[in-house]
Every structure is written in structure tokens, then in C-alpha cells.
Amino acid sequence: MDWELAREAFWPILSGGLTGTIPLTLVSFAIGLVIALVVALLRLSSNVVLAWIGTAYVSVIRGTPLLVQLFIVFYGLPNLGIVVDPWPSAIVAFSMNVGGYAAEIVRAAILSVPRGQWEAGYTIGMGTTRTLRRIVLPQAARVSVPPLSNTFISLVKDTSLASTILVTEQFRKAQEIAASHPDQLMLLYLEAALIYWIFCTVLAAGQRAIEKRLDRYVAH
């Protein structure tokens, strides 16, 4: 083991995480949640066409590999004359992917809120939209935190796929260093793995903190 190399490589790989992996994850997840809410509401719609669109979206996203989705956006779209840079390509692909998976979580969470809560909203004079926003979604949020946290932590790791479309994130940084040290691949990739693990462990702790905070109005 070349510990000197490990020490030298640590900061570049970590900074790839801080400037690549983390922002890519945060932005994609935020956009993905918006997509998820829209798709979940489509699926819950009483309008057959809208519900079908939502169902089709979820089916396509979940039925195809993320790597293929990424390649379609970055390498495929240019054939149609649409050239997108690596970063925006990655954000588009990851957001849409998260949107598909999280839509099912959000849908289930909305359905888990008892019907009486909707009715209580209606009887104090609220319409559907306001009842959804002020009464149902806050309760659905509580239910969806654990599964959404899992989606988020998966996304942290999945963003390593962006290395294949030239986004300089944490894993690509490790690969670049590895290119000039072909005899130290094990060390460098283990180091990259360790840093992913640290990120995910911290996030899991954050997840528990959020759950605890949201628990304050739930009976124990």
C-alpha cells in the first residue's frame, strides 16, 4: 500500500465529492421531488388520461437502467440536434429518475393519510388544493421521510454513473488519479468508496434527526 499516494489523493477525491457528487445530488433530488409530486398527483387523478400518463412515466423510468437513461440524454439527444453539456445532462437524467421512484413513495404517502383528514379540511371550508397543501401533504411528508431518505442516499451513490458522461465528480476524480498510478487501483478505488461511505453515514444520521423532529406530533 502506498500510503503517501493515499494521503495525496484524499483531498482531490474528497473535493470531487464536495464540488461534484454533493451538488449534483442536491439539485437532482430537489427537482426530482417536484417531478415526483406532479407524477404522484397525475397517478391519483380521477382523469383517466392524466392517471395513465403518470403510470406510464413511472413504468418507463423504473423499467430502464439509469445508465441507459443517462446515455440517452447525453449521447442520444445530439442525434436529434439537441446537445446538452455533461452537467445539465446528468441533472436531467437523475432528476427524472428520482422523480419516477419518488412518485410512488409520495403517492403511497398521500394515500396513507386518512380520508377523514380530507373531509375535515373540506368542512372547514377548504378546497381540494388547499386541503392537500395544508392538511394532507404535511402528514404525507412524515410518512415519506424514511423511504425518500433511502432514495436520496441511493442517489448519492448513483451519481458516480455521471463519470461516464464526463462529469467531474468524486469517482471520476479517483479514476483520473488512477490513470497515472495503474498499480494502485485497489487503493484509490477503496479510498473513493470510503468517502462515499462517510457521506452516506452522515446522511443516515441526518435522516434519523429529521424523523425524530417530525415525530413530535405522533403518538408513541
Binding site: 373540506y122 406530533y217 405522533v218
Partner: protein, 295 residues
């Protein structure tokens, strides 16, 4: 007369917190229901119901489960949409535009004819006349007691927050829950939760209070505190329609009792008459079963 000087309004323009029905004259018709029908698939739950609710009156709906009493109650505020029949609501006692009343623009009678398609606007207008207390209280678990109570006034009726808080506090104190203002619903007993449910309804200043078996989900020893509050409201002159199994309560508080079975009003009358000398055999059987469940 300026819009803020209507019935039930004090000289300073603030309607009396505790005054029911906006001060309109008791005894005048508030809600008239004619020929209400409702089916769920093949199951016909309402088969031509007539009902008159007068201001200041307490109407008790009794009957076996599946008799249609809850569906009838839910039809009165648009949670359930009948297939046929008519509901007419008298002009609102609240002057239109008076902030913090359930009804806006309610100067004209409102008629919903369910044999035709009713609009969302009509159903909202009907709903705005009343407030509902549910069997399972349906308090918002993510909101404190106070937040539960002011949600409707602040969010829907555009009452200034400070005013809504003041009024909510007053109402909570009245039902003995002033100190629970900042508690979450799960921290309360069932009886306390239901009293908050009642306060949440009162805070909307409805003209009509609807109760859907408000004590059926409670432990027996907690029933009394809820019924006591309801009796006080009745004594103050609130107009109430109550679906209940509490015959003692109905006997003591109701002006009129309707016995429903199979989607029909089998018998209606003053509680004294209906409970003591029911005219119909089905009423007699039902009352007997309720009073002597072990036979």
C-alpha cells in the same frame, strides 16, 4: 345600513363570540330538505327523506347502522352528494362580506336541486353554512390545538390572526381546555380531543352544527364531558343536527327526533312522544333493543 351592522352584530362591528346563528330569529326555517335520494351502487341508502331544520332547534337522528342517518347528515354539508332531491338553505343571517363568518354573499336563499347537476360553487355555499363534528374527531395531528381551531378562520375566512387566536382561546377556555392550547391532539384524552373538535367547528361561526355520532368512539367515562358541552350549546340556542345513539341525550336536548330505518324516516316527533309512545312497531323494536341489549 352598512354591511357590518347586520343581525347579531354588536355596535363595534364585532359579532358576539358566543352568539349562535348570527342572532337571527329562532324558529324560522334554516334548512329545508325534500325527497333526498342517494344510492351507492345497488345499495339505496336514502329513499326520499324530508327534513326541516329551524333556527335554534336541535334535531336528533337515530336509527340502526345502515339506516342512512350519517349519509343524510353528510348530505347537509355536501360531503355526500345525493342523487335526487332538494336542499334549500335560508338566506344567511350573517351580512355578506362580514369577515369571519362562514357565509359570504349569503343574502339570498340557496337551493340545490340534486336531480340536476349541482355546481361546486353551490356545494361550497351549502357547506359554508355549517360545521361538522366527526365521530373520529379528525383533528389535524400535525397542528397544535390552537392551530387546529384557527386554521379555518385564518386560512379560509381571512380573519386576522390575532382576532382568531383571541376567539379560539376564549372558546377553548369555555370548554375547559384553555391550558391545552399548545398541546398536540395526541397528547389529549378522547373526550378532550372531541371538545377541541367542537371548538374547531364553533370557531367557524356556522349557522348549523352537525354532529356525526360524536361520542361513539369514546370510552364510556369520557362521553359525559362531550355531551355536557353539546347540551350547553343547545341551551345557548345553537342550531344542531346530531346523529347519535345516546337516547338520554336526545331525550333531554332534542326538539325533534327522527327515527330512520332502511333509508326512510320511519317516525318523527318530539322526544317525549317518540320515546314514550312510539307509533311505529319498528321504532318500538329499535328502542327496545337499545335499552335492553341483552334480551
Amino acid at each position: 345600513m352598512s354591511p357590518t351592522e347586520g343581525a347579531g352584530t354588536e355596535p363595534n362591528g364585532t359579532p358576539d363570540v358566543l352568539e349562535p346563528g348570527g342572532g337571527a330569529r329562532p324558529g324560522t326555517p334554516l334548512l329545508t330538505v325534500r325527497g333526498l335520494h342517494k344510492s351507492f351502487g345497488d345499495n339505496s341508502v336514502l329513499r326520499g327523506i324530508d327534513l326541516d331544520v329551524r333556527r335554534g332547534s336541535v334535531t336528533a337522528l337515530i336509527g340502526p347502522s345502515g339506516s342512512g342517518k350519517t349519509t343524510l347528515l353528510r348530505s347537509l354539508n355536501g360531503l355526500s352528494i345525493p342523487d335526487a332531491g332538494r336542499i334549500t338553505a335560508a338566506p344567511s343571517a350573517h351580512p355578506s362580506g362580514d369577515p369571519g363568518t362562514k357565509t359570504e354573499g349569503g343574502d339570498a336563499p340557496l337551493t340545490l336541486d340534486f336531480s340536476r347537476k349541482t355546481t361546486k360553487r353551490q356545494r361550497f355555499a351549502l357547506r359554508d353554512r355549517s360545521a361538522m363534528v366527526f365521530q373520529q374527531h379528525n383533528l389535524f395531528p400535525h397542528r397544535t390545538v390552537l392551530q387546529n381551531v384557527i386554521e379555518g378562520p385564518v386560512q379560509v375566512q381571512r380573519v386576522a390572526r390575532a382576532d382568531a387566536v383571541e376567539r379560539a382561546t376564549e372558546l377553548l377556555e369555555r370548554v375547559g381546555l384553555g391550558e391545552k392550547r399548545d398541546a398536540y391532539p395526541h397528547e389529549l384524552s378522547g373526550g378532550q380531543q372531541q371538545r377541541v373538535g367542537i371548538v374547531r367547528a364553533l370557531a367557524l361561526r356556522p349557522e348549523l352544527l352537525l354532529f356525526d355520532e360524536p361520542t361513539s368512539a369514546l370510552d364510556p367515562e369520557l362521553v359525559g364531558e362531550v355531551l355536557t358541552v353539546m347540551k350547553e350549546l343547545a341551551d345557548e340556542g345553537w342550531t344542531m343536527v346530531v346523529v347519535t345513539h345516546e337516547l338520554q341525550f336526545a331525550r333531554a336536548v332534542a326538539d325533534e327526533v327522527l327515527f330512520l330505518d332502511g333509508g326512510h324516516v320511519v317516525e318523527r316527533g318530539a322526544p317525549r312522544q317518540l320515546f314514550r309512545e312510539p307509533r311505529e312497531e319498528r321504532t318500538r323494536q329499535f328502542l327496545h333493543r337499545l335499552l335492553h341489549p341483552m334480551e
